[in-house]
Amino acid sequence: MSIAADVMHADPTRSVRDVPLGAPWTQRRVVLAVIAVAFIFGSFWGLRRVEMSLFALVEGWPETLNLIQRMWPPFIPADDRSQVLSLLLDTFFMAFLGTFIGVVMSVPLGLLSSRHVARNPIVRGVSRGIIAFARAVPSLVFALIFVRVFGIGPIAGILAIGLHSIGFCGKLFSAAADNIELGPRDGVASTGASRLQELLAGVWPQMIPSVIATSLYRAEINFREGTLIGLVGGGGIGLAIRGYQGSLRYQELLGVTLVVIVAVIAMELLSQAARRTILGDSDPFRKHAGGTNTRFSLTGLLVRAFGFSRRTRDAAGKPDEAPATVASQLSMAADVPLSPPWNRERVKLAALSGGVAVCTVLSFILPDIDVGRFVTSLVDLPSTLLRLVPSNLDFWTSQIRSGLVETIAMGLGATFMAMLFALPLSFLAASNVAPNRVVFRVTRFMMIIVRATPELVLAVLFVAALGLGPRTGTLALAVGIFGFSTRLFADTIEEARSGPREGVISTGATRLQDTAAGVAPQVWPALVSQGLYIFDVSLRASTVLGIVGAGGIGFMLSNSMRTLNFEVTGGIVLCIFVIVGSIEVISNWVNRQIT
């Protein structure tokens, strides 16, 4: 309807004075307000529950200084260096094989949970359930269980990493299948192809960029998680961390920590470079600065895959030459090779496949993998898993309940503390808002360092300084989550479009006004979604902090495994699944409300 018609049809009896001066309370606004209030109250409750206070932090400062003095300078004895290096290599191959296994299992699961592939809702439901379970249970918890079955060593770590990866990869693969363009699939179907042919010729090619990017990205995350697996005996560099921690050798502890940080950053750069080389523009995890504002659904990261712009190439923009004459074409046809030429794309894919093949072979040779033991233990696996299934509710003791409540309190408190610092800092770490390049670079660099330090390593250090307990865990978690959320927030802010900002600036707004009126309104729905995701991550992380004595259910979890109380372990895992699962359901619901 044109403006003229609008004016014509406007009700003349309604005067300007009748228009309210405040925004109406729409459903969306109510939902947001309730969430904000609930989050703030929940966080204060959580912080009280773990006895976190400014006073406690100030009080702990001298001890922290004391620890730092004992740690400085970091150092790894010459005798241990080759050992540390070989554990680092183990970590790499563990992460690699784990990712490999995870991806291989995720492809069918992801496809079967996509509405475009599986028509049977029961099939979809079951595969989604498996994916959700794998996502909810941290790899360290899987490792704890597998160490019992396969003994101390990398096999437990590989399987744990592989199983947990299904949660991430399966979900993203399923999203990739859900997001394909249906036209090409219908095109293949219209030729009379069977369902399976249709899947491989019409659906799978469209998923490839996402599958490659997700796998490489997951390999990067898995390396980071792989550094921790050793803390429960699952192999890799974590064994060294555990060793130094146990013998109170703090200089060595800091030394290994720095090695871990450097290695994690190196892996991150490697994965990024690989993605950029292989996928270029079609990398769904690529930051698209200045591009369209992506809608963030369940998780900020997931949505990088969900929302990646579908590049419909501009057909009109290309010159269209007239078809050559039939005769010249037919003579040309004889010269066309029958096998694909070695173009850049094929070379890249061949290099990737070759790399994967070499790594697979090496990862069976280099780390201490006892294949014989693996096979014999595999026979015991079903019976062990069955013993995990609680036969009654005896595990549901007040101790477990309070452990779970403490875990939630830690997750909430840590999220709140992290956000408190991450929100303002992320504006400094966003290239389009930061006051100058120096501030931007310094903030980003700090975030890279903080983010590369796994939460559990922080927890180990903090426990040494501040003692055992949930307060230490919350603090370690807050620091770890802080680095991660700043990066996530900053990336989102960078996606704000410049058009609306130019509008704001053209009215004579100051820099801060521009940020508040031009940038914030564009990005805050995405920031809220990411806040929910960060809470989800922090909750899952807080379930394992207890393994190093930093509070929460993790302590009872590792204790139950140590005392071979399988049913209690199973019961706790079930509780974690239920809690993380409900948070996911809630955040999905909230995301639907606010987008």
Partner: protein
């Protein structure tokens, strides 16, 4: 030029299609037959039922009433397996090309052979050499042999549609259904693409049912025109010297509520190109 001595390959009788439980009638008592080798062009405004009609012919839609018979197969009663068999003989050319952009041209063309093969395939090397040779021939027929190994999404729109046509030809269909094959292309390219489509189909003696917006293209190529308005057949005429231009234009007129004819309704709709 209409070949009445050939046997009919398409029979549609009393076809009616309702959507939304009868609130929208997309097709209303549509009946016609098409003899083998005929080039039939269906014209009409957007929403007149052209696409819906074509989708009934390969079983993508189920009619509310009426019968659809294609090459002796009763499409309405056909099982999933029978439909797949039918679709191997009935090519479909889409407005949005519906090719897999990430794959090379030859890989897209090869998918046309899937119906004749058992089991899933991925990548050109999983197809027999003979089929690859044939795929290149089809690409040559649409003028794209030199682009065989190029990624399809690096081509222009007109070229992408030609790849889609090559894929359809690869099927060795007896009927081709084309649903607005050039609606997303500019007029000059449209002419080239229609040229390729109809030339190849005539060479292979393929029956074509094609919906079009452009009356001039329709008149250039069609043996026969079928005009749809509000789901009803309002024109069914062979295209020869005697065709009355005013009668064709009537297809595009609509009655307004007062009963007066609103002429050239299409002019202010940018999605509809009319150069006739």
């Amino acid at each position: 030029m209409i070949q009445t001595d050939r046997p009919d390959v398409v029979h549609v009788r009393g076809l009616r299609k309702e959507f939304d439980g009868g609130r929208v009638v997309a097709l209303d008592d549509v009946s016609f037959s098409v003899p083998e080798g005929q080039l039939l062009v269906i014209i009409g405004l957007s929403g007149s039922g052209k696409s819906t009609l074509l989708r009934h012919l390969n079983g993508l839609h189920q009619p509310t009433a009426g019968s659809v018979e294609v090459m002796g197969t009763n499409v309405v009663a056909a099982s999933g397996k029978e439909l797949r068999h039918l679709r191997r003989d009935v090519g479909f050319v889409f407005q949005q090309f519906n090719i897999v952009g990430r794959l090379s041209c030859i890989e897209n063309v090869l998918t046309g052979a899937l119906g004749a093969l058992n089991g899933p395939r991925f990548g050109a090397r999983m197809y027999p050499k003979e089929l690859r040779r044939r795929a290149i021939e089809q690409l040559a027929r649409v003028g794209l042999a030199d682009r065989a190994w190029q990624r399809t999404d690096t081509l222009s729109g007109g070229q992408q549609q030609r790849v889609a046509i090559a894929r359809t030809l690869m099927q060795r269909p007896r009927i081709v259904l084309a649903d607005e094959p050039v609606a997303s292309l500019d007029p000059e390219i449209s002419g080239q693409v229609m040229d390729v489509l109809f030339r190849c189909c005539v060479e292979d003696n393929i029956t074509v049912l094609c919906s079009l917006h452009q009356v001039d293209l329709a008149v250039d190529w069609a043996h026969r025109l079928l005009g749809l308005r509000d789901g009803k057949v309002v024109l069914d005429s062979p295209v020869d010297g005697s065709i009355d231009h005013a009668r064709i234009m009537e297809v595009y007129q609509r009655l307004d509520p007062t009963g007066a004819k609103v002429d050239e309704y299409v002019i202010d709709r940018p999605s509809v190109r009319m150069s006739a």
